[in-house]
Symmetry: C2
Subunit: 264 residues, 2 copies
């Protein structure tokens, strides 16, 4: 859990990040608010990436696109600034991670297009509300993430493997977990795989490629959801000249309520 | 109803259209198959339009985007050719309708990007299957369509009014009609308005702007759904240099089953 002294209003949290006072994982912050993955690309690559999102809605569910010339997501968080209001970013040049700053104003250009993608923190809250325990959610740790053998649907210059997040779900709650997350297509929706890690190229479910280890108990089933870190795996595979993302687990906290993005 | 001699296989119907043997309305053809609206734009306008679709998923639900250099929708209809396999097209230059040909090979360029958008024919089949009568569906006529006072969410150069289709639904079936169409977000989904035509700028429900008159009886409620003709109203308002669409009611018949595009 974040320290009890933290504000719960997204605007206050973003202001702290803007001032450089908050640069850690956002898991558990601003309960009930939608958190988002970030991808920033020059306009020249923006059509290909927008099409990539359209073709891969599970890993890349679009919440908002901020066009070139602006850094304010007016729908999800009016008044916010993409360049400073996340705790930590990653800057990739030709697929190489070159820095992990807490502000990207120095790397910003007027032709930058920003994409906010749904994040599984939203459906984790719904799972917890339904009595399904998500240990890392309660402890402020990061989800266990794996690069899989599932290929995304390519679009223009973008292609690469799908990244998934894994949660250990008690056997008798698996159906419920599918039903609940199906209600949230804007934040990855239903799982992409249930059960056998090998079937999707995950060798050891206790050795995540990213994030923290999540223990799968005797009576648990490992359930895998498409993950918003996929664009970072795709960036490494596709090597666009410049691409900026959030740092895994260091999300953009929007003003929207989780229920605002639930399917009807 | 189309004449009983017509084939029901989408490939056979498209081949007839390609040979110029079929150029009429497609309502009721190939029962159970998804029919699609078409928008074709040069690559220069394609990002703005893709973003327009992302921001306006009810009028513009994307089924497939065919990138520049190809005219084959490989996912929805492998082997088909966008340039010849619709019964009739509309060509707009700077917002003016300049021709309504049965083939667009002469107007095609290598930089053309094609967008296939969901069409309400899919959910009409589901309504009929649920015992809700849709008179124009049974008689092979066109839906009644209206240009409304609802503004679409602009994206880049694209903006303009939303076009809706209207169906007269018996009062005791309105809830059912909402539930059924909610299952099909890929083909316009739930209604955008129920009841008062005035509230969305429709003056006379018996004088459609496009399509055929649909009679609203004493115990009927007029129910309005977002319509895939919206891009044509937007084309007229936004005046892109060149834009090609299907002619209203003259849809692209895909290989996909209606149930393939139902929400989970």
């Amino acid at each position: 859990m974040p320290t009890p002294a933290l504000p719960t209003d997204p605007r206050d949290l973003r202001a702290m990040m803007r001032r450089g006072e908050l640069s850690g994982l956002t898991s558990g912050m601003a309960p009930g608010r939608v958190q988002a993955n970030l991808v920033v690309l020059p306009r020249e690559q923006a059509f290909d990436f927008l099409l990539f999102c359209q073709r891969n809605p599970k890993p890349c569910p679009l919440l908002e696109v901020v066009e070139a010339g602006s850094s304010e997501p007016r729908n999800m968080a009016p008044g916010a600034d993409i360049r400073s209001d996340l705790p930590r970013y990653r800057v990739y040049e030709r697929g190489e991670l070159v820095e992990e700053p807490t502000d990207i104003s120095h790397a910003w250009r007027d032709d930058m297009v920003s994409f906010l993608l749904g994040c599984s923190f939203t459906f984790e809250a719904a799972l917890v509300n339904a009595g399904i325990r998500i240990p890392h959610y309660e402890t402020g740790k990061n989800t266990a993430m794996f690069v899989t053998s599932i290929e995304t649907e390519p679009a223009g210059m973008f292609s690469g493997p799908m990244v998934v997040s894994m949660r250990a779900i008690p056997q008798d709650k698996v159906v419920k977990a599918v039903q609940i997350t199906s209600r949230y297509p804007a934040v990855h929706g239903a799982p992409v795989h249930i059960g056998d890690p090998d079937a999707i190229g995950v060798e050891d479910v206790h050795s995540p490629d990213l994030g923290d280890v999540a223990r799968v108990g005797e009576s648990d089933v490992p359930v895998f959801w498409a993950c918003g870190v996929t664009p970072q795996a795709v960036a490494m595979a596709s090597k666009p000249p410049l691409m900026i993302t959030h740092s895994p687990g260091h999300m953009f906290i929007t003003d929207k309520l989780n229920e605002d993005v639930a399917a009807l």
